[in-house]
Amino acid sequence: MTLVEAQPAGPAAPAGAVRRLAGALHRRPRLQLTLLLAAPLLWLAVLYLGSLTVLFVSAFWTTDSFTSEVVKVWSTDNFHELFTTPVYRQVVLRSIGVALAVTVLCVVIAFPVAFYTARVARPKWRPLLVVAILTPLWASYLVKVYAWRLILSEGGPADWLLKPLGLSGPGYGLPATVLTLTYLWLPYMILPVHTALEQLPDNLLDASADLGARPGRTFRSVVVPMVLPAVAAGSIFTFSLSLGDYITVQIVGGKTQLIGNLVYSNFELNLPMAAALGTVPVVVIVVYLLAMRRTGALSSL
C-alpha cells in the first residue's frame, strides 16, 4: 500500500521544487535579474573597475627617490612632471599621432576592401573573403610583428621589392611602427565597415540614382554617411589598440618611444609615475569615445 502511494511522489518531488523556484522567480523579475547578473557584475566591479581605481589612486602617490619605495602621500607631482617635461609631452603627442595615423590608414585601406567583399564580390564568395580577412587574428601577435621585423629588415623583402624603383624600405622607426600597427588592427576596421556596407539597402542606391545622382554623388551623399558610424566604431578599436601598444614599437620602432614604453620603463622604479602615464591613454580614449558617441558609432558596436 505505502509503496504504491510513494512511487508517484518520489520522482515528482525534485521536479516540483525546481518548478516552484522557477515560478517564484517568474513572479519576481527583479530577483531573477539580480541573481542572473550578480556574478558578472561582481567581476566587473572588483576586477575591472577596482584595478582601474587602484591605477588612478596610485597615480597620485610618489616614490622615494633613494629607496624606490612607494610613498602613499597624496600629491599631483606626477602629473605636474608629465605636463612640464618636454619628453613626456612629446611622447604623449607622438602616441596620439601614431594612433590617429593608424586609424586613418585603416579607414583608407578598409573602405575599398570592405566595398569589394560586401558589394562587388559574388555573394557565395563573401563569407570566404570575410574569413580570409579574419584569419590573421588567429595568428599570434608576436609572430606577426616579428614577421614585419623580417620584412622591414635591412636587405629584407621590403628593400628588395622597392629597389627596382630606386627606393629602400622604411627600416625600423616610426613609419615601421605605424605600418605594422595598421596591419595588426586592419581586420577590426574592415569587419564593421563590411557589415555596414552589406546591410546598406540596394534600393537606397536605386533611389539616389533615380533622383539624378551619379555613382560618385551617391557614394558621397548616401554610402559614406550611412557607413560612417561603422567607420567610427572600427576606429575605436584601431585607435585604442594603437594607443596602448608598446610591444610593436619595441620590435620594429627602433628608438621610438610611445606612452606604453614609458609606462613599462617606469614600472619597476617609479610605479606611481607609471600609473600617471597610464591614465593618459585612458583619458584620451574616454575623450575619443565621447567624440565618437556623437556620430552614433556606439549604438552600432
Binding site: A207, D210, L211
Partner: protein, 345 residues
Amino acid sequence: MEGSAIRLHDLRKSFGGTTAVAGVDLEIRDGEFFSMLGPSGSGKTTVLRMIAGFESPTAGRIELAGQDVTRRAPFERDVHTVFQDYALFPHMTVEQNVAYGLKIRKVPRAERLVRARKALAEVRLDGYGGRRPAQLSGGQRQRVALARALVGRPRVLLLDEPLGALDLKLREQMQVELKALQREVGITFVFVTHDQEEALTMSDRIAVFHQGRIEQVGTPAEIYERPATPFVASFVGTSNLLAGEAAHRVVGAPGTYSIRPEKIRVLKESADADEPEHATAAGTVAEVVYLGDATRFLVDLDAGGRLTALQQNLETSSEDVAAYRGTRVRLQWHRRHAVEVPTTG
C-alpha cells in the same frame, strides 16, 4: 495631353534561365494614370524597374517621350520612382530627403527649401520637415516618398506597389489622395499593383500582366466587363466562368463565358422570368457567405458548373440568409452580361 509618355517595344528580360518579361508592347499616354496589374511574378515590377533604368532589358526598346532611353542610366531619365518600402534616406531629415533631387540638380538653396516645403504641403505633411524618417508612421513615410519623387516634377512617376505596406483604411484613403494628386499635378503615373480593386478604383487604363506578358490593356470598365482572356476574367473580380457543356446548356451556345457575380439575381425556384433578354439557370445553393453589406451565394447549377452571385442585403434580412443553404434557387441575369471570353490554345 496627347502623345505618349512611355512606349515599350517587345521588351524582354530574363534572369539567368528564367524569363521575367516575355515580350511586352505598351504605350502609356501623357498625363494618364496607368496601372500594371498582375499577380506576383507576372513581370510587372520588372517592367517598371526597366522603365526606371534599374534593370536593363535583355531585348527590346524603351522610349520616354519619344526618345530611346533603353541604354541610359537611371540618373539620365526623366522619371522618378516611389519604392515599395519607400527607400527614404535614414540619415537625412524629411526635408533633406525631399530636397535631395533638387540639390543634385543644383537648384539654389532658397528655392530648394521653398519647393521642398511646398511638396510636403501637397502631401499634407507641412511641419514634418525636420523629422527623421524613423520618427514617422508608415503612411507618413509613404507621403514623404511621394513628395520626394514629385518635387522635381518628372515627366513620369513610377509607383511600385506603394500602398502595399499600409493597413486597409489607410490604403483606401491614400488611393483617393493619390488619384487627386495625380489630377492636380497632371504627371503620368505608372502604378504597379497586385490589388485589382486598387487598379480599378484609380486608373485611367490598366494593363493586366500574366507570366511576363500583357493579357489585356483597357479602361477599368473594359477590363472588368469584357475580360479578353480567362485569366483576366478570373484575376480581376471574382472568377465566374461557365465553360464546356454547362456553358452550352445555360447560355445556349458553346464557348467560355464570364458573368460577374453582382449581375446575377438569386430568385426562388418557382419564380418565372420569361423575359427574352434574361437568361436563367436552376441550381442548389451550396454555400452562403455573409459579407455584411452583401451576401455571396455559391450555386451548383443543374446544368453543371458553379456560379457565384452577389446580392446586396437590401430586402433580405441579414440574419436569415444562412437559411438559403441547400435550397433550390433560380439564377437570372441579363443576356448581355454573359460575356464570351476568347480562349487561346
